[in-house]
Symmetry: C2
Subunit: 363 residues, 2 copies
C-alpha cells in the first residue's frame, strides 16, 4: 500500500497537508509538509500514528484520485550521491576503459555533489528535452541543439527534516534523527551535455533541467522493518566518522518506459547508507536544513537487467534494448513516459513508495 | 563610497531593509531584501533613487556603525562559475602540467557547478577550519583531520532578483533584466579535501563549509558607468546563444590578510559576462529564482600579484609569499583574518562594494 506525507490540492484550492494510505488521503489541514518536516522524530511518529488511525477510521479522508499532488516540500539544498558500487563501476568501465573502473576515493567516502534545488519537480510534471552544447564524436568544436542522449537515473531521495547546527558535524549514529523519510527520485540526465561540460567541476546543465520526485514522502519509521545488509559494504574499515554496522533498505525498484519494465533492482545495492552520507556531508561543518534532499545515486545491480540508467542498459548507446512493444531504445525519445516504482516487502505488509512519472516533451 | 541594499539589525531588534551610503544606512522598514529582489528593474531603480535622496537629505538615516549586517537575502541556488582565463589556466598548469592548461570546453561555455546555498554567510562570520579526508602525497589511503590547505577565492557574486520561467531560456540580451546587483564573494576552499574528493563529480566538501558575501548588494545601475571590455574575451565566436558585445566591469579587487595586501586584480579579468552565464544556465530550461547567487569564479590576472587565490599565489604551496609583517604564508593559518575589497572608479564617483571579512577559527 502506498503511504506517505505530501502536499496536495483539490478542485483548484490552496495547498493542503495530506497523508496518503492506499486509495485515500487524510486531509491534515492547510499548508505544505514544510512545517511538519521542521519538527523532530517524536512529533513525526505521533502525527504518523494519528494519520494512520484517521485513515483506518475513514476520518478526514478524501479519495486519493481527487487529489492533485504538489511538490511536497520546499527543497533547501539538493545533494546527489553516487553510492551504488555497480553503477560507479559501470560508469568507470564505460568512460575510463583502460583504467581501474572504480576511482580510489569511492571506497573511502560517499562521493557526491550539489544539484539544482530549484528544478526539483513533482511526479507527473512533463520533462522538456533540454537543449545544450555537446561535442559530436571526432569533432573539434561543440554543436548546439536538443540533447540526443536523454536518460533517467533510478534513485532514492532522502528528505531531511530536523536541521543541524553549522559547525557541528552530525555523528553517523545520530544521523537518522534528522531524516524524515524517503521518496523515489528520477535524476534526469542529458549524457551528451554532461560529457562535454563536466571537466573539471562536475555535472551542471546535463542534470539541472529537471529532477522528479514522488509526491508522498514515506516516513523512515515505516521502512524500519525493511532494514537489511547492503549487497556490498563500501569498505572493510571506513574512517571512524563513517563507521557503523552496514545497512541498507530492502526496497524493490523498477523502471518502466511506456508501460514496459526495462530494469528491476533493489535499494540493497546502495553501499553507503544515508547515515554515512549525512555524517560525511556535515563533517566539514556544513549543516543540514529542513528540506535538504539527498539523492542516493543511481541504483544498479550486477546483472544487465538490474541497471538503473539507460546509459548502462544500452552500454552507452552501443547495445539497444527492446521495450517489449516491438521498438528498441538506447536513450529516450520524445513522447516516452518513464515511471519509477519502489515497493518494500510483499503482501499485506508491503509499503509502496508510489511512483515518479514523467513524459518527455520535444525540445 | 560604499553603496548598496542589505538587511541589518540594531540593538538586537528584528531584521530591517537598509540602503547604505557611506557612513549612513537609510532605514527602509522591517523585513529583509527578499521582497525588493523579487520586483523588477523599474522598481529597483525607483527605490534606489528614493533611498539615495533620503541618504543625501539625512532622512530615515542611522549611523552605519550602529547597524549589524545580516545575510542580506535568502539564497535560492548558488552556482559558482570559472570565468577568469588566468585562473583556469593557472589551475591547469598546476594540476595537469603535461597537458594543455585550458580544457577544451572552457572557450565554448561558462564552466560552472552548484555550490551549497545553506552555508553562504555574511561578512564577519568566523570560518572554522574544516575537517575532512585528504590523501597525503605518496599515501595509498586517506587521512582524516583539519584541512592543511585552507584557501580563499576572490570573486564577484551576482544576485538574481526577477525570476524567469522554467522551460524558457533567458536570451543573453535580456539577462541583465534579472540581475539585481553585485556582492563580493569569498569562496573558501580546502584544497586538500577538494583534491581527493572531486573525481568524477566535482568539488563538494572542499567548498561547502562556508562561502562569505559582502553585506550590501550594489545595484547593477550603480555599476553601469564602469562597463568596459574584458581583458580577454573567451572566444572569437561563441555559439549564437552566448553571443554579445564582450563586456566586463572595471572593479579593482584585492585580498588582504591580517591587514597586508597580498593580491590586487580587476574584474575585467572575467572573460564570460554574467549575461552569458545566465544565458548558459537557462538554455537547458532551468529557470532563475529570486535569490539565486552566481559566483563569477576566482578573478586572477596574468601577473603573480594579481592571482585571486593562495593556491595560485603560493603555486600550490611550493612558493611561500611574504605577508609584510615578517611572516610567510602558503595557505591560511588559524587566526588569520582575510578581507576582500572591491572599488569601481576613483575619487568622488567611486563606488565601493564594501568588504568581505572572515577570521579563521581552529578546527
Amino acid at each position: 500500500v502506498t503511504v506517505g506525507f505530501g502536499t496536495f490540492t483539490r478542485d483548484g484550492g490552496s495547498p493542503r497537508l495530506g497523508f496518503r494510505k492506499g486509495d485515500v488521503v487524510v486531509d491534515l489541514g492547510s499548508g505544505s509538509l514544510d512545517g511538519l518536516l521542521a519538527q523532530n522524530r517524536v512529533v513525526w511518529e505521533r502525527v504518523t500514528e494519528g494519520a494512520l488511525a484517521n485513515a483506518d477510521a475513514g476520518d478526514h479522508c478524501v479519495p486519493a484520485e481527487s487529489c492533485v499532488p504538489l511538490l511536497p516540500f520546499t527543497i533547501a539544498d539538493y545533494v546527489d550521491f553516487y553510492s551504488s558500487l555497480e553503477h560507479a563501476t559501470n560508469l568507470g568501465r564505460l568512460f575510463r576503459p583502460d583504467a581501474e573502473p572504480l576511482l580510489p576515493n569511492w571506497r573511502h567516502l560517499p562521493v557526491g555533489y550539489h544539484g539544482r534545488a530549484g528544478t526539483v519537480v513533482v511526479s507527473g510534471t512533463p520533462v522538456r528535452r533540454p537543449r545544450g552544447q555537446a561535442l559530436p564524436p571526432g569533432a573539434d568544436a561543440p554543436r548546439f541543439g536538443p540533447s540526443a542522449r536523454l536518460d533517467v537515473e533510478l534513485e532514492l531521495g532522502f528528505v531531511v527534516g530536523a536541521p543541524s547546527r553549522m559547525g557541528e558535524p552530525v555523528p553517523v549514529g545520530r544521523a537518522l534523527e534528522h531524516v524524515f523519510g524517503v521518496v523515489l527520485l528520477n535524476d534526469w540526465s542529458a549524457r551528451d551535455v554532461q560529457a562535454w561540460e563536466s571537466t573539471p567541476l562536475g555535472p551542471f546543465l546535463g542534470k539541472s533541467f529537471a529532477t522528479s520526485i514522488s509526491p508522498w514522502v514515506v516516513p523512515m519509521a515505516a521502512l524500519e522493518p525493511f532494514r537489511t545488509a547492503p549487497a556490498t559494504p563500501p569498505d572493510a574499515a571506513p574512517l571512524e566518522y563513517l563507521r557503523e554496522e552496514p545497512w541498507a533498505l530492502d526496497i524493490a525498484l523498477e523502471i518502466e518506459i511506456n508501460g514496459h519494465r526495462v530494469a528491476a533492482t533493489n535499494a540493497r545495492e546502495l553501499s553507503w547508507s544515508v547515515a554515512q552520507q549525512i555524517a560525511h556531508l556535515t563533517v566539514n561543518g556544513a549543516h543540514l536544513r529542513t528540506g535538504d534532499l539527498l539523492g542516493s545515486g543511481t541504483v544498479s545491480g550486477a546483472r544487465r537487467e538490474e541497471r538503473g540508467s539507460l546509459l548502462e542498459l544500452s552500454w552507452n548507446g552501443t547495445e539497444p534494448f527492446a521495450l517489449g512493444d516491438g521498438t528498441e531504445r538506447t536513450f529516450l525519445e520524445d513522447g516516452d513516459e518513464v515511471v519509477l516504482r519502489g515497493v518494500a516487502g510483499t503482501g499485506d505488509d508491503a509499503v509502496a513508495l508510489g511512483e515518479v512519472r514523467g513524459r518527455i516533451v520535444g525540445a
